[in-house]
């Protein structure tokens, strides 16, 4: 049963090794992500990281490790339990940074995945972004619809509105280079109809033209 949901971005630049000398610039957002994890970690003995599938959907071993070498960095831990695709890796890295020592699950999702939460108390860590078309310098260039699209997600996170997440248009998400949509679909499927005891958007940013959100839902 899902007892909490944490929302964090899936931006590679959140990882200090990838941000290079500019790692400090994103410290407030990174800090908010760690706060999210510490908060949801109090509500569950397992944190299930849910992130967009890169090539394949599925579940990875709980002792698999992050690896960002495909982005050009040299460092990674010993991959004894296997290597996570990078979006799950971002979740793993954030869990490490937040000092999470409880149980973990890693699930990559696409448009059709169904995830079962059989554990007694599971907190879902939803690793996902909004559109990548917020500015002319954005990866996906400027699309005037991007801001409203992201705004709706921010409101949904801040108000605990699972139905709003379920209502995100997948076609529009694809046009706006939003890879997070399958993750929110999962969150909505797992939580719609449940009463949210506390919902908060801790941070949001779009400095690089991509919508990032950090927040949480706690269930009674």
């Amino acid at each position: 049963m899902v007892t909490a949901v944490g929302f964090v971005p899936s931006a590679p630049l959140l990882i200090p090794d990838l941000a290079g000398g500019a790692a400090e610039r994103d410290e407030p957002l990174r800090g908010a992500c760690l706060d999210v994890i510490r908060c949801i970690g109090k509500a569950g003995s397992t944190i299930c990281v849910v992130a967009p599938a890169v090539t394949t959907a599925g579940e990875w071993p709980s002792d698999a490790t992050w690896d960002f070498t495909g982005f050009g960095v040299a460092r990674r831990p010993e991959p004894n339990g296997g290597v996570l695709p990078w979006p799950l890796g971002i979740g793993a890295w954030l869990l490490d940074a937040a000092g999470w020592e409880g149980r973990r699950r890693y699930v990559a999702v696409d448009a059709t995945t169904t995830v079962a939460y059989d554990d007694a108390d599971v907190a879902v860590l939803a690793v996902a972004d909004g559109g990548a078309c917020r500015t002319e310098k954005a990866p996906g260039y400027l699309d005037a619809r991007a801001e409203g699209f992201d705004q709706a997600i921010m409101v949904a996170i801040d108000t605990g509105d699972a139905e709003a997440l379920a209502a995100i248009d997948p076609g529009l998400a694809a046009e706006l280079w939003c890879t997070g949509w399958p993750v929110w679909r999962q969150v909505a499927m797992a939580t719609v109809g449940r009463r949210v005891a506390e919902a908060r958007l801790l941070a949001s940013a779009a400095d690089y033209g991509v919508g990032y959100f950090a927040g949480y839902w706690l269930f009674s």
């Binding site: 590679p12 290079g20 000398g21 500019a22 890169v54 495909g70 982005f71 050009g72 960095v73 990078w86 990548a132 002319e136 954005a138 990866p139 996906g140 260039y141 280079w177």
Partner: protein, 289 residues
């Protein structure tokens, strides 16, 4: 494959280290932002770069970054007068056109262009046939499969060097199969095209891997964002970083260098040639008198 690259009336051997000068016939390219928009201004720039010693002139009408749509007619409106004027003023110059479109390639080859510089990696399947038909040269660039004028977004390579080498070899072979003369083909790893800055740095460091394919290697490094991200500097301040990358690529065997700053690039390449033992002093006096 052939050891000599033949473009126009010129031959480029392995250690020639030639400069391809960038001439933008656009209102909004990232570096010169319209300074040579309009055929007259672009032709002045053609005259200038040839005067500065450029070996090849590369004329482009569409900026690489996303932005307002430039269709075939508009692209031709921008580049065709420049190609015609340049051919008229400089009958023996090697002229290249930076386009991915076969429709544009037909018109500019007819007007006298010697080379098609396809920066987007063969997205137009008819381009190789056009190049073959006109006996022109081509630059086969690895662009990571991106559509023209799109930015790389979280691009992952298990082996960026291996994948880039395989990519350009595939493009070159496709050109050979289409009838392009093999001695007209150059390969370009496509720095920053479908790649992040670390990928581009690694490709610079491993220029040798591209050279080892046997195809002549062209690199386009000038003022690019990977230089900007190393130094945290805007395009106007990226000359030194560009020249550093140029020197490494040159020392490791690249043959053609696509550049904005012709004089500075030529001086760097001349120095690299001397260090590599491929060229002698211009003046031997000191300690010898």
């Amino acid at each position: 494959m052939p050891s000599v690259l033949r473009w126009g009336s010129e031959e480029f051997h392995a250690t020639d280290r030639a400069v391809m000068a960038i001439v933008n016939a656009t209102p909004d390219s990232f570096f010169d932002r319209g300074r040579t928009f309009g055929a007259a201004a672009a032709l002045e720039r053609v005259d200038q770069v040839i005067d500065e010693g450029a070996d090849i002139v590369d004329i482009g009408g569409v900026k690489a970054a996303p932005g307002g749509d430039v269709d075939v007619d508009e692209e031709l409106r921008r580049v065709l007068p420049v190609v015609e004027g340049a051919r008229d003023r400089h009958p023996d110059a090697v002229l290249s056109v930076d386009t991915w479109r076969s429709d544009v390639a037909v018109a500019v080859c007819r007007a006298g262009a010697d080379v098609v510089n396809d920066a987007w990696g063969g997205v137009d399947s008819g381009l190789a046939d056009v190049v073959a038909r006109y006996g022109a040269g081509i630059v086969c660039t690895h662009a990571g499969g991106q559509s023209p004028r799109t930015r790389p977004h979280r691009v992952w390579y298990d082996d960026v060097v291996g994948q880039t080498v395989a990519g350009v070899q595939g493009l070159a072979q496709h050109c050979v199969d289409a009838g392009v003369r093999p001695d007209g083909i150059a390969i370009d790893p496509g720095h920053d095209f479908g790649k992040n800055s670390r990928h581009s740095l690694l490709l610079t460091r491993r220029t040798d891997a591209l050279v080892a394919t046997g195809w002549p290697v062209l690199v386009s490094l000038s003022r690019k964002d990977f230089v900007g991200e190393v130094l945290d500097l805007p395009p106007d301040d990226r000359l030194e970083g560009t020249l550093a990358a140029t020197a490494i690529a040159a020392y490791r065997g690249a043959r053609i260098f696509r550049a904005h700053d012709v004089t500075a690039t030529r001086r760097v390449l001349r120095m690299i040639s001397a260090i590599a033992g491929d060229a002698d002093l211009a003046v031997g006096r000191r300690g010898l008198a």
